[in-house]
């Protein structure tokens, strides 16, 4: 990139920022020029927050969500409803649902969706772990909250077809179709998400 010969610090910064998702060359440049004007104190706090990440974040051995202690605070909270498990694709989906403040059950993070073309079958996502949880715990309802996308729907269908024959007396539900088709759970506003959760229907 031209024009940087006199500012190696800003050049490095733009290069690093530009490697992050959703930050193109122009945003990276604007961010870098903003950062160089911040007081040292704030820059150091940001740097410390970033360098504090490694080693801090693990996956909960029960639900698979990101956590800083194992099992995570949701799985080990006796105040939550342990008879409900909400199955999601990614850790960020847990955050989105938690923000609605109306779900009090547990989660299960699959870590992906079935996608045969990408070589992702049932063994590549945490389906076996889910089935083991269902067999060992007193689960009464399982909410299939995979995204309303083709892969998300296929994964929900697969899970429903797998759970039903086990004859565990578990109700399988799915968020109501208030979610926009082809959209992503993570980017759905809290109100739509609350509505979709409250009006969930048997799968």
């Amino acid at each position: 990139m031209k024009g940087f010969q006199n500012l190696p610090t800003i050049e490095n910064l733009i290069t690093e920022l530009n490697r992050l998702p959703g930050i193109g060359p122009k945003s990276a440049t604007a961010l870098a020029y903003h950062l160089v004007h911040l007081p040292a104190e704030r820059l150091n706090r940001l740097a410390e927050t970033i360098s504090a990440i490694p080693g801090k974040i693990l996956n909960c051995s029960i639900c698979g969500n990101l956590t800083e202690e194992n099992p995570c605070r949701i799985c080990s909270d006796p105040g939550r409803d342990h008879t409900m498990i909400c199955v999601v694709e990614k850790p960020m989906d847990v955050l989105s649902i938690e923000r609605t403040g109306i779900y009090r059950g547990l989660y299960h993070v699959l870590g992906g969706v079935l996608s045969p073309l990408d070589g992702i079958g049932p063994a590549q996502i945490r389906i076996r772990e889910l089935l083991e949880r269902l067999k060992s715990a007193e689960v009464k309802e399982i909410i299939l909250a995979t995204n309303p996308s083709i892969e998300g729907e296929a994964t929900a269908s697969y899970l429903c077809d797998t759970i039903a024959p086990l004859d565990l007396g578990i109700t399988v539900t799915r968020f109501s179709r208030g979610l926009p088709v082809g959209g992503e759970l993570t980017y759905t506003d809290t109100e739509t998400l609350s509505l979709a959760l409250q009006s969930r229907k048997p799968f």
Copy 2:
């Protein structure tokens, strides 16, 4: 913000990222979840790049641009044309012009524009410093490259009216205005279109 009780590291990160310009709560969340998956090595490099900023960046005592050595490499480069000064609002504008690779003169960063309603008059931006440079150096042309906004235009007019009576034999120019290269007529605002039409040139 709800939903974070089990992830203080991610919560801190989202809070810090959300304070940066152009990064809303959703981008901050997506970025944070991306960052926690990066290898420690990359996180540490990003943190080091950020914490390396304080004390590194100064303003050039001649042109006012950001620099890591004083005077900056542009002002102290004998290969540049010292008879031309391009006057811009912000350090980022210098970068934009340098990236074109066609300007070989010097710069003068005003550090803002005249904006009486915000209490910014000629004494609040680096106009006095510019006039002193003009008097002491062999400048033949001054390019007023403030933004084509109301304040930018007013600042350019003020500078032109101030420089002309000094009788220094300096040519004062301004960037041409019109349709942006690669832009579409349909999506160009009415004012730009009117201006482009009125200042049309023989083909």
